[in-house]
Each structure stands twice: as structure tokens, then as C-alpha cells.
């Protein structure tokens, strides 16, 4: 089965892959530091962070853009994945912490005598990697099962997911929850035996993030073409018709919710080693709404929109927080309002929107009869 819609999309995908997988890491590894073409390790992990954000946005788009579920706990799944991988990284610090103890520093600080039982398996890299997927997946399964079973949908679903994020965030802020309280995890030393701050490690992490993004893109493209994907989009457009046609929409929604949580968790796992810190601040409801902004700005329900949105907003954030630290939130808020009001299809849909306006403008004097319907789906 073909994954890509058009030859143009395939070319674009291959070109992007070539730039991100060969050119940028190559410029980092083989071009001398003095050269203007050199990509520094800092830049690599910065862009690596944007790539993981893009994956997070894609996972939300899967829910919101293609299934019509506005989920406000996506950043919680992202952080859960990050925490699961962070536990492995914390244990790999070993006795190099500030207290020279085999226990993570915050545990020594809080007076733990030995490692809590649920931490022990995280010495194993593969267990931690598995946990990155199943912990968010399980959380999504439990909550989704309860929510979809009682047919909570639309804005009620959003409100409840927001409350869930709020509750879990409060939980992670507690010191006695064994996940480091409000300081979270930081000061990592090594990953799979390699120094986590070495440029070569950062290069591999960047390549890994890009591979994850590519795989997610291909997976979503493929899924949209399967019968499953068609049902999924039908649920977005009219859930009741799908239900009356004999499909159990509850099961479809639950599966997509769990899948989306797992993708977000994987993104979180790549985020943590590149940024070097994870704390409960990453899982607030406000962060989840940020992700919604990225998707809305880039283009909801488009394959490429979330990537553009995530990178654009975060690039803008990097510059604006430095240049206009006071008014950055005002800028972001205004973008949000304007996008919702005037750009229902986001940046990706902008050319089409402009073309539509131009056509309308040209035809208006002629007849005035044919109105081009402007789509405004909820």
C-alpha cells in the first residue's frame, strides 16, 4: 500500500530526510568549528528539542485533527514518557552525584535509605524504553476507557482531560511521590555508557528524534489510508452516523487515544536527554494548550501542519522571549485568537484560503450568485 499521496509529497519527504539526517549532522561532525557552516552541539540539541515538539504536535493532531478529540493532557503523556526515561538516566548517574551515593541526589536529600521498588527495573535500558511507551499508554487507556464509555465528548472531554493534567501535575509536585518533587530530574551523566554532554551523543539523539518524526509521519500517513483511518475521520465528522452504521466508536477512539499517548511518550523520551531536565512544569494544562496552539497555527488535520506549527512557534518563542520578554505571552495569546478567528486551516491552509478569497473577489462583480462556501467545521 502506498503511504504518500503524491509524488510531490514523496520528494519532499525524501529531501527533508536528507537534510535532517545527512546534511545537519554532517555539518556538525565534519565541518571545522571556525567555519560559518558549522552546526554546534547546542544548535543540534535545540533543533532536536523542536523535532520532539513536532512529534508531540503530530500526536495531538492525530487526536484533534483526525478524530475530533481536543485532548488537553497531551503534555502530560509527553512528560510521563520523559519521566520514565529520566528514571533510567537518573540511575545511570550512579555515584557521580553531589552526595556520592548510588541513590539519586533528591532521594538522599529526602532521606531515603534504599531505592523504592518501582525504581529498580529502570536500571535496564530496555525496560525503561518499554516504560516510555506503556506508562502513558496505560494512563490513556484507563482514563479513555472511563471517559469514552460514558460517552463524554466534545468540550466535556477537553475539560476533563484538563482536570486530569491538573491532578497529575499536583501529584508530581509532591516530594513523597518519589519523582523528585518540583525539581524533577536533572544533571544526567550518561546514556548507554556514552557521555550525555558529548557532541557525538547529541548528534545521535538528534538523528534518533528525526527518525522518530519520520516514522510517526509515515505511520500516520499509512493509517489514514487504511479502513481504520477512514472510520477515524468519519468519527470526527459525524460520530453518531458511524455509530449507527454499526461501528463501536468507543473502541476506535480508545485505540487512537492510547496510540497518541504512546507517540507523545516517545517524544518525551527523546526530549529529556537533549534538554537535560524534566520537572512537573512540563505537564501543566498550560503546556498542553501550547501544543494546541502549535497544531492550530500550523494547520489542524493536515499531515505537515503540526510540524510547521511546532517549529514556527518555538522559533518565535526563542527570539521573542529574548527580545520582548515582557510581551511574549501577549504575542502568543494574540496569535492564538487571530488564528482561531481568521485562519481555521492554519499556515498550511493559508495559500488555499488566499486563493479562495482572490477567486471570490474576482467573481463577485460578475454574478454575485455563486458564493464559494467557506468551510467552518468545528
Amino acid at each position: 500500500m502506498k503511504v504518500f499521496d503524491t509524488r510531490f509529497e514523496l520528494t519532499g519527504f525524501l529531501a527533508a530526510a536528507a537534510v535532517l539526517l545527512l546534511l545537519i549532522p554532517g555539518l556538525n561532525a565534519f565541518v571545522p568549528e571556525e567555519s560559518a557552516m558549522h552546526v554546534s552541539g547546542f544548535q543540534l540539541s535545540l533543533w532536536g528539542k523542536y523535532v520532539t515538539y513536532a512529534v508531540l504536535a503530530m500526536s495531538l493532531n492525530l487526536l484533534w485533527g483526525y478524530t475530533g478529540l481536543l485532548c488537553l493532557c497531551q503534555s502530560m503523556f509527553f512528560a510521563l514518557g520523559g519521566y520514565a526515561f529520566g528514571m533510567y538516566l537518573m540511575l545511570m548517574i550512579g555515584e557521580r552525584g553531589a552526595y556520592k551515593s548510588p541513590l539519586p541526589d533528591f532521594m538522599v536529600f529526602l532521606g531515603y535509605q534504599e531505592l523504592p521498588v518501582h525504581w529498580v527495573p529502570f536500571y535496564n535500558f530496555w525496560f525503561a524504553t518499554g516504560a516510555v511507551l506503556w506508562v502513558p499508554g496505560l494512563a490513556a487507556f484507563i482514563f479513555g476507557f472511563l471517559a469514552f464509555r460514558s460517552r463524554i465528548k466534545g468540550v466535556y472531554f477537553s475539560i476533563l482531560t484538563q482536570a486530569l493534567t491538573y491532578a497529575v501535575c499536583l501529584l508530581f509536585f509532591r516530594n513523597d511521590f518519589t519523582f523528585g518533587g518540583n525539581n524533577g530530574f536533572t544533571d544526567f551523566k550518561e546514556i548507554l555508557g556514552a557521555d550525555i554532554n558529548a557532541v557525538s551523543t547529541q548528534r545521535w539523539l538528534f538523528v534518533g528524534s528525526v527518525l522518530l518524526m519520520g516514522a510517526t509521519y509515515m505511520f500516520i500517513s499509512w493509517m489514514l489510508k487504511t479502513k481504520f483511518g477512514k472510520v477515524q475521520q468519519a468519527i470526527r465528522d459525524s460520530e453518531n452516523r458511524v455509530r449507527f452504521s454499526g461501528y463501536s466508536t468507543t473502541h476506535y477512539k480508545l485505540l487512537i487515544f492510547v496510540l497518541s499517548a504512546m507517540i507523545a511518550g516517545a517524544a518525551g523520551a527523546f526530549y529529556v536527554p537533549q534538554v537535560g531536565i524534566i520537572n512537573p512544569g512540563e505537564m501543566t494544562a498550560a503546556k498542553s494548550l501550547d501544543v494546541v496552539v502549535w497544531v492550530a497555527l500550523g494547520g489542524r488535520g493536515t499531515k505537515f501542519g503540526p510540524i510547521i506549527g511546532a517549529v514556527a512557534v518555538n522559533l518565535l518563542k526563542s527570539y521573542a522571549t529574548r527580545l520582548y520578554p515582557d510581551s511574549w505571552l501577549i504575542i502568543l495569546g494574540l496569535i492564538f485568537i487571530l488564528v482561531v478567528l481568521f485562519m481555521p486551516n492554519g499556515l498550511v491552509g493559508l495559500p488555499e484560503q488566499i486563493r479562495g478569497l482572490v477567486r471570490k473577489f474576482r467573481r463577485a462583480p460578475e454574478a454575485g450568485l455563486k458564493e464559494i462556501p467557506v468551510s467552518s467545521e468545528v
Partner: protein, 528 residues
């Protein structure tokens, strides 16, 4: 009766003047007279007397006693200001009480609160004297017990006397009586001494006393639990009242227009900041010490309603009206608005919390069976009731209310019958914002006022609206009170965080049972 005694006796100031002038043989009668006054001025005066702020002045035949207060001389007997020139001041002689007199005066000033005309002052004085453990106060307390006729004060005196007796008692029979009596009056103060007595009784193998101690402790503990529960209920009701005020606005705007207002929390903050501004205006117009200043809070209530209403109306006219019946998009756009508003507050008022003072008439608390209910919280509950009644009247007794209900039930039908739907929408949105702001104004008395003060309540309020069926005011009211009370009952055992999480879990499970909330709207439409 202390009040009649006061009325018959001479003014305190005259007694004090006589005391200063009296010879040592005449003092006793005056001291007795003084100890019955219960006037708090006595303390102030005796302090001045000891520290040398009291002077004797002989002008002609008349001997006068002067009291120096912040560089001015007052005549003690009448409290009138006496103007003196430099020579006259030089001619003044300091009056000092004798050693013996000082001792006597100390006893009076220590116990004078016990005869104060204010009941709560007498109770506090009895507790302070009784628990100081000094034997010399016991006769005073006993005397007072005989003449006291306020039940509460008598109880307080009896309680401290019993505690004192139990602590020092060697006689098992007397101990037994005391323990029994402490249990009878359910004395919280006596709990500790009864526990000590229990230890001693266990050591002495005095079975009868052990049993009595255990019984008394049980009845004291029962009462204590009751008082704690009462306190929890009270705090729960006041939290519920706040949630109710906040969620009424949400419920109305959502039910009517399908707008999920994420910026509702920022309208709460408008109320808080309006209080702050009005308070500062009052302070600069009338001065912070004046009586008029106390009215700032009352004035800021309607002002905050109007300010938020006008601002809400502005937002409704500019962009919210484009989002009707598109709940998800309204949620996103109002979230953007909330970000902008929060940052604006930070830029204008600073990131730190601002201080809103409590007016004097809301200071203090009210005691019910040992539980103290603060006036601010009582005010919150009363005010929420007022808002419920006002909203109900608005919805059922006015033309606007009729329109609002019509639009809520069937928008198109209402429009086709000539109801000005868009104007009704504007007014309702403004009303909802005004309610949020009123809640914020009230919150300034029991919480912090800061840029993100609304965020603390907004998640809870959304839960209230969902659990109580969206658009249903009765449901919102019941679920607000329920959530508030459950939250406060869970907090002492589980802590604030786990309490909140449990409440959240309970709501999720409740929605399994009743997916549409408490009072779901009955409709034949599939999509509702």
C-alpha cells in the same frame, strides 16, 4: 451584675486621681473600688504612673494630677487638655507609687480584665489567669465565679479552676470528682490534665479513677471531633460558595451561548484588582485611618461587577460573538485571551500578589460550640446566597431573564419570535463576567490577589459545571457545595493535593453513573 455596679460607682478617672493623692492609710478602700471598675484605662494609667509619666501640679489651692500622653498634659479626673508654659512644667513634681502600692496595683491590673464589661475579654482573662498556674489568682477567680452571671464566663472560670485543681490534687476522691466534672463540661483545656491524671491513676492502680478518666476523655474527644467536623463543614460551605459564584457565570455563558470561557479566571482577577484599586483610592481620598475607608470593600463590590461587565461586553462585541455554538474554538480563543490578560496584569500590577485589607467589620470570628467561624467566611456564604437569589430573580422575574431562558431552550425559535438574540447574548456574557468579578472581589478577603489568582479556581469550577450539568443553575449550585464540602472533609486526612485528586476521581466515577451530570437536559436532539 457588673453593669449596674459600673453605673452606680464613680468614674474610674476620679478614683485614680484620688488614689494618686491619697495617703498610704487610705489606699485600701480606693483599691477595692478600682478593682471593680473593669476599665481598661486603669492598666494604661498604672503603666504611666510606674514609668513616671504622672505629675502633681498645685495651682493655687487645688491639687491636680496630670497624665502626660505623647508630650501633652491631661487632667486625669476629666481627661481635658491642660496648657502649661515652660515655668509651670518645670514646677511639676513626678508622682510615683510606693513599693507596697505597686504590688497591690499589679494584682489589680492583672485581674481587672476579669471584671471588664466585655464578655470575651472576661473569658480570655479567666483562661489566662487560671492557666498561669499561680495560686494567688485562685481566690480572685472563685470570687468572680460567685458573682458572675454570664454562663460562658462562668463555664470558662469553672473549667480553669477544675484544671488547676486536678493538676495539684493529691486526694483521689477529689480527683475523681474533678475528672468527672471536666468530662461533663467537655473541657478541651482539661484534656491534657485528664490524660496526665489517667497516667497517674494507672500507676496507682486506681481502677475507678482510670474508668472515670477514660469516660471523660471519650466525651471530650467526641466533642472535639464534632467541632472539627463543624469547622470542616463551614470551610467546605465557604469554598463551595466561592465555586458557586465562579461557576454560575460559566454555566450561564456555556448553556446560553455554547462558549467555554477559559478567561473566566482572569475576570475573577479583575474583581480582586478592582478591590485593590478602590482601596487605594479610598486611602488617598479619606486617609487609611478614617471611618470612611472601611467602606471601600462594600463600594468595590458593585464597582467590580460593573467594571468586569463592561470589559466582558467589549470582548463579546469584538470577537466572542463570532464563536457562538463553536465550543472548542471558543475554548481556544478565550485561552489566548486569558494569556494576554494575565500578562497585562503582570505588567500593570507586578507579578507579586497585592494586599487587600480586611475592613474592621469583617475582622474576628463567631463561636458556635467551640468552633470559630470567621466573619469573612460567613460573609462569603451569605453573599453567595444573595447572588443565587439575585440570579434566580433575574432569570425568572425579568424580561431579560425570560429572553435568556428562551434562547437557552431553542435559539432559532427564539430568534424567529423576535427576541433580540445577539443583544441577549451580549448582556448575558457581561453578566457572567460580572459574577466572576464579584467572586474575585469576595475572594480578596480570603485568598491572595495576584495575576493568576483565577487559575486556582478555574479547574474546580469547570468540574462543578460538568458535574452539575452544563447550563443548569440548580445543578451547579448543588455540585459546587458538594465539591467544596467533600474537598474540605478530605483535606485534614489526605492533605490538600491528595484531597483534590480524590475529588477528581470521584467526579470521573460519578460521570460513569450519570454521564450528563446531576440534572441532564432532556432533549430529543441527538447531538445535544
Amino acid at each position: 451584675m457588673p453593669f449596674t455596679l459600673l453605673a452606680e460607682s464613680r468614674p474610674t478617672r476620679e478614683i485614680l486621681q484620688d488614689l494618686v493623692l491619697a495617703k498610704s492609710s487610705q489606699t485600701q478602700g480606693l483599691l477595692d473600688e478600682l478593682s471593680q471598675t473593669g476599665d481598661s484605662f486603669v492598666k494604661e494609667f498604672v503603666d504611666s504612673w510606674r514609668t513616671g509619666e504622672v505629675y502633681l501640679w498645685e495651682s493655687g489651692e487645688e491639687k491636680m494630677v496630670l497624665h502626660r500622653v505623647s508630650e501633652a498634659y491631661h487632667r486625669v479626673s476629666t481627661n481635658e487638655l491642660v496648657a502649661l508654659d515652660m515655668d509651670e512644667i518645670a514646677g511639676l513634681s513626678k508622682a510615683r507609687p510606693s513599693r507596697q502600692l505597686r504590688k497591690e496595683l499589679k494584682k489589680i491590673t492583672d485581674t481587672i480584665d476579669l471584671v471588664s464589661p466585655v464578655e470575651s475579654v472576661r473569658i480570655d482573662a479567666a483562661r489566662k489567669l487560671g492557666l498561669s498556674g499561680k495560686v494567688e489568682y485562685l481566690p480572685v477567680l472563685e470570687q468572680r465565679f460567685e458573682v458572675e452571671d454570664s454562663k460562658k464566663v462562668r463555664r470558662a472560670i469553672e473549667e480553669v479552676l477544675l484544671v488547676h485543681r486536678l493538676k495539684n490534687s493529691e486526694d483521689p476522691v477529689e480527683s475523681l470528682e474533678t475528672v468527672k466534672r471536666l468530662g461533663q463540661i467537655r473541657s478541651f483545656l482539661g484534656k491534657e490534665s485528664v490524660e496526665d491524671a489517667l497516667q497517674r491513676a494507672l500507676a496507682d492502680d486506681n481502677d475507678e479513677l482510670v474508668l472515670a478518666c477514660k469516660l471523660s476523655l471519650r466525651s471530650i474527644n467526641n466533642r472535639q471531633t464534632l467541632v472539627e467536623q463543624l469547622g470542616n463543614l463551614f470551610r467546605g460551605l465557604s469554598l463551595g460558595s466561592v465555586l458557586l459564584m465562579v461557576s454560575f457565570g460559566l454555566a450561564i455563558t456555556f448553556g446560553l451561548m455554547g462558549i467555554i470561557n477559559m478567561a473566566h479566571g482572569e475576570f475573577i482577577a479583575i474583581g480582586g484588582y478592582t478591590c485593590y484599586i478602590v482601596q487605594n483610592l479610598f486611602a488617598s481620598w479619606f486617609g487609611a485611618q478614617s471611618a470612611a475607608y472601611q467602606w471601600f470593600f462594600i463600594v468595590s463590590l458593585p464597582v467590580s461587577f460593573l467594571v468586569a461587565g463592561v470589559i466582558g461586553l467589549g470582548f463579546e462585541k469584538t470577537f466572542i460573538r463570532f464563536l457562538y455554538r463553536r465550543p472548542l474554538e471558543s475554548l481556544l480563543a478565550t485561552w489566548g485571551l486569558s494569556m494576554v490578560l494575565q500578562q497585562v496584569y503582570r505588567l500593570v500590577f507586578g507579578a507579586a500578589n497585592v494586599q487587600v485589607y480586611t475592613p474592621d467589620f469583617l475582622m474576628g470570628s463567631f463561636e458556635v460550640g467551640g468552633a470559630s467561624l470567621s466573619y469573612t467566611r460567613l460573609f462569603v456564604i451569605g453573599f453567595a446566597l444573595l447572588i443565587v437569589v439575585a440570579t434566580w430573580l433575574l432569570l425568572t422575574k425579568t424580561k431579560l431573564g425570560l429572553y435568556i431562558r428562551a434562547v437557552m431552550q431553542n435559539r432559532q425559535m427564539a430568534a424567529s419570535l423576535g427576541i433580540p438574540v445577539s443583544r441577549v447574548n451580549s448582556m448575558t456574557f457581561a453578566f457572567g463576567c460580572g459574577l466572576a468579578s464579584l467572586a474575585g472581589a469576595v475572594l480578596s478577603q480570603i485568598g491572595n490577589v495576584g495575576p493568576s489568582m483565577g487559575q486556582a479556581y478555574i479547574v474546580d469550577s469547570f468540574m462543578v459545571v460538568v458535574a452539575g450539568s452544563v447550563g443548569n443553575l440548580l445543578g451547579a449550585g448543588i455540585s459546587a457545595m458538594g465539591i467544596g464540602v467533600v474537598d474540605q472533609f478530605l483535606q485534614p486526612t489526605l492533605g490538600p493535593v491528595m484531597g483534590k485528586i480524590t475529588v477528581f476521581a470521584v467526579i470521573i466515577l460519578f460521570l460513569q453513573w450519570k454521564p450528563g451530570g446531576l440534572f441532564p437536559t432532556k432533549s430529543r436532539s441527538l447531538e445535544d
